[in-house]
Symmetry: C2
Subunit: 536 residues, 2 copies
């Protein structure tokens, strides 16, 4: 089955995406389909919010927003501008949700393991414990960054000078990413060049000129004219190259390259649209986004306000929350709710059964991060000025800050695990044990670790107060069964946040979900407040 | 022929590098060879200057340095610190040489085409007309940047969101780098997977497990489980992905991909050690390096001092130069000379015949750059925040500034040609024609060009006063015949600059050549000033 109207001019629709689409077509997807057909793609792709209709002078509408994360703040900002009466109830002592930047003196509100960040008090010494990088295609987030005056700088994901470390390859020694990737490309294309030369190309590929393909392979892998890979200067030099001729590295063994797990995923990370260079980060920490929003709508945010009950009424949503030691009650025309689904499911509520079942069914990730303060930026001594090293150990990654180059100290991301196993394992340790583990594992890549790491903080998202989890983990099955239910409003109640998006774990998903709810709400309010439309 | 002592632990020495080395082995290369053998590689690879012995209280040594480019300034800085009496004669009105950052009001000293830079006067509105990016392996330059307090930020070379444009492919329309590269990898690995499956792998590659190789290919090209490439989300999305499912792009035709010249070079630029992410740039312009040096040794630099004659004497080097309308004469114990070889060859001199012949034989490049001020950063509207687009047109590249994101205006690099043809063609135009050409060609990639480009400057290095050329163009033959001659001193005269390095066109080459000369000079002076050594 292949719907021609869904293909782009150049040819076939990506099969994977196509199936994804066909499986779930309907509702607002039909809008996209129409947009594709009439050539409106670029605008649609940018995903801008349809401007909210400002309320008339005599119109009053109240909205209660639950949670001051990026989704809730987006909603507050837009509703405030359009003249809505809105309030944001935030359970914790701070706004931002998982947009959390840790600096000197900040407290980490982990259940059972309260920590205080001991980084030195300097502008470049911070850790983005939640989102830490902005892809260029996250147009909504970039739109707000621009509008809120948040200064951006380049963030580096991929660094060929950084290390690839796998305990089961290269004798357990780290190797430079550059040598690994160059040799992998070289051997891969050498084998292919041999196969192509030996086989009947016409049978394998229509319309491709064999000689040109061989040229392509030689360029791709930096092969010798005879199609063999005998090393490449792309792998870097062992010495020389300035006042004496360059001396190249030896080449690795391809079998050894294949032994390391790097090629199974990390090697291609930069190929992903969301992970491709250049990425960006706010100067001074990701929470500059939060500060930007708070400068506009901070007056509408009530901190330390823990919601206890959400009740759908015929013309309102009623909230009971604890604040200042007492229970308070609040009713609003609408509610936009970003409370994590699994926490929301446990509150008093009167959601319809299918809605409640959906909230209950959605699992959460256990992402875990460690930030380490180093008294010396020893990675710069190794020629690493930014980017990520990968290891088969539990810490998985080491991130080097691309800001503050040449400063005395720096904050490394000493661990970033996204699998449930890693997150669970680290979360069971005490904060001190986590740091010790990160140092012990990091030292296998950087022997300088024990000498220079001064202190650290750890953030296991599934143990963080008011969170108890990270990105929603939608499976195909869950999505088919529950996504539409949670995306549609339950009466006057809208669930928002990255949890109700096709991009959980990213700020862009949270903003998009808020936009989706706001556009729906906007249409309802227009009908309610316009006598002509109301009659229709 | 294969010298085992030159191989690294992992195996074969890169053939290319090995031949390069073997062909020219001797002299200081022997030092490297020994270093390799005794495991001193890392230190050697960093290429630090052997600290100059400070002159004793009673020792006086004078050095005249010709040219205040990066090589000359490096020499002045080191000699000054070691107590030498040195002076730098600079022909132009400014220091820096090809390290040239253009800002509002700067004059471009092109012979016959004087220009004034009309950029707005703002810190982020500048053009690096010479070197513009610093690779992480240029340890000498990075050492000085650190020591001189130059603040660095990340520079972006490669951007998958930028454009690939070839007039002979895709109907002449630009395509996103991301789609081109993803589809190229996909088709390439699909063909290979078919070939591997169809052939007898044991014959093509020793010790490689066939099934693992197929897995590798599927991961590399994002192939379907059956080994076919049917598009990949790595190519990005046409729409959706946030509140509705993502809709993928169609895939290109592999034959069309092969038609575009992008794969012959530009596609692999980021694979080069000197071009790999992350690169860096000084905040505010490359000439922050020059300013850093000048803050230390500016008092020793005489501008507008044009050398007319260089005479080797038994115990001195004598310089005649024009300054303030008169000819002046100066003698020093040593001379470090960075005057471009082809200009130096035309001055009065008494160099030995082989030295003079070498100076005369060395050709120069014709690199050409255009900077364009845009009244709106329209590339950000296209999701491009940094990096480079490539085109088959004469302008070759368009660079987008990664600094000043979200600012009102920005400076594009509107053309960067490195071949002699492009440089010659642009140099023959008037400055206004060059800008018109850059706008006309740029508009094929960005239709917004004519609307937003406000003004521009052009720098053809082979017409720039006191330069008349760019990087020295060593061929293998020239290098075999002349390099050693020019690298060794002629009496008390040392030729320096990137022209006497294996890395012409890069600041690192200039610094390395200065270090090489300084180390030689240091040894001589130690012998001269140490009675014990003198007797030996």
């Amino acid at each position: 089955m292949h719907d021609e109207s869904l293909t782009s001019r150049e040819g076939r629709l990506t099969r994977r995406r196509f199936l994804d689409l066909v499986g779930r077509l309907g509702g607002s997807a039909a809008v996209y389909r129409a947009a594709l057909a009439i050539g409106l793609l670029p605008a649609v792709a940018r995903g801008r919010l349809t401007e909210l209709e400002p309320l008339g002078a005599d119109d009053r509408r109240s909205v209660v927003i639950l949670g001051a994360g990026i989704g809730g703040l987006t909603a507050a900002y837009e509703l405030d501008r359009a003249g809505y009466d809105c309030i944001v109830l935030e359970a914790s002592h701070r706004a931002g949700g998982r947009n959390l930047t840790l600096r000197a003196g900040d407290r980490i509100d982990e259940l059972g393991n309260p920590q205080v960040c001991e980084f030195d008090d300097e502008p470049h010494l911070y850790m983005n414990a939640g989102p830490a990088r902005i892809p260029a295609n996250h147009h909504r987030l970039l739109h707000y960054a621009r509008e809120l005056g948040v200064q951006l700088e380049v963030f580096v994901n991929e660094n060929r000078s950084a290390w690839v470390h796998d305990e089961s390859a290269f004798g357990g020694r780290p190797v430079r990413n550059r040598r690994y990737v160059t040799d992998a490309r070289g051997f891969m294309t050498e084998i292919m060049a041999k196969c192509v030369a030996a086989s009947d190309l016409d049978k394998t590929m229509d319309g491709v000129d064999g000689e040109r393909l061989l040229e392509f392979l030689r360029a791709y892998g930096d092969l010798d004219p005879d199609g063999a890979y005998r090393g490449s200067e792309r792998a870097g030099h062992a010495a020389g190259g300035m006042v004496v001729p360059a001396i190249g590295h030896g080449v690795f063994d391809f079998a050894e390259i294949l032994k390391a797990g790097f090629w199974r995923g990390p090697m291609h990370q930069g190929e992903q649209e969301d992970q491709a260079a250049p990425m960006m980060q706010p100067v001074g920490g990701m929470d500059m986004i939060v500060r930007g929003f708070m400068a506009k709508v901070g007056r509408r945010v009530v901190s330390n306000a823990q919601v206890r009950a959400v009740s759908l009424r015929e013309n309102a949503v009623e909230i009971v929350y604890a604040h200042d030691g007492t229970l308070k009650r609040l009713a609003a025309d609408y509610c936009l709710n970003s409370i994590p689904s699994h926490i929301l499911a446990g509150l008093d509520h009167n959601f319809p059964p299918d809605y409640a079942a959906a909230l209950d069914a959605l699992p959460r990730g256990r992402l875990f991060k460690i930030g380490l303060q180093a008294s010396r930026r020893f990675w710069e001594d190794e020629g690493i000025y930014a980017g990520i090293s990968w290891t088969s150990q539990d810490i998985t990654q080491i991130w080097y800050p691309g800001h503050g180059i040449f400063a005395k100290k720096g904050i490394l991301l000493g661990a970033y695990t996204f699998g449930d196993d890693g997150g669970t394992k680290f979360a069971r340790m005490s904060p001190a044990e986590r740091i010790e583990t990160a140092i012990r594992q990091g030292a296998k890549i950087h022997p300088s670790y024990p000498k220079y790491i001064e202190n650290g903080v750890s953030v296991p998202w599934h143990r963080m107060n008011h969170m108890l989890g990270c990105a929603a983990r939608w499976t195909d099955e869950l999505r088919a069964r529950y996504f539409r239910t949670l995306q549609e409003p339950a009466g006057r109640h809208y669930l928002i946040g990255d949890q109700v998006s096709y991009h959980p774990g990213w700020q862009e998903g949270a903003i998009a979900s808020a936009h989706h709810a706001l556009e729906h709400l906007n249409r309802r309010v227009r009908v309610e407040t316009n006598p002509v439309l109301s009659r229709a």
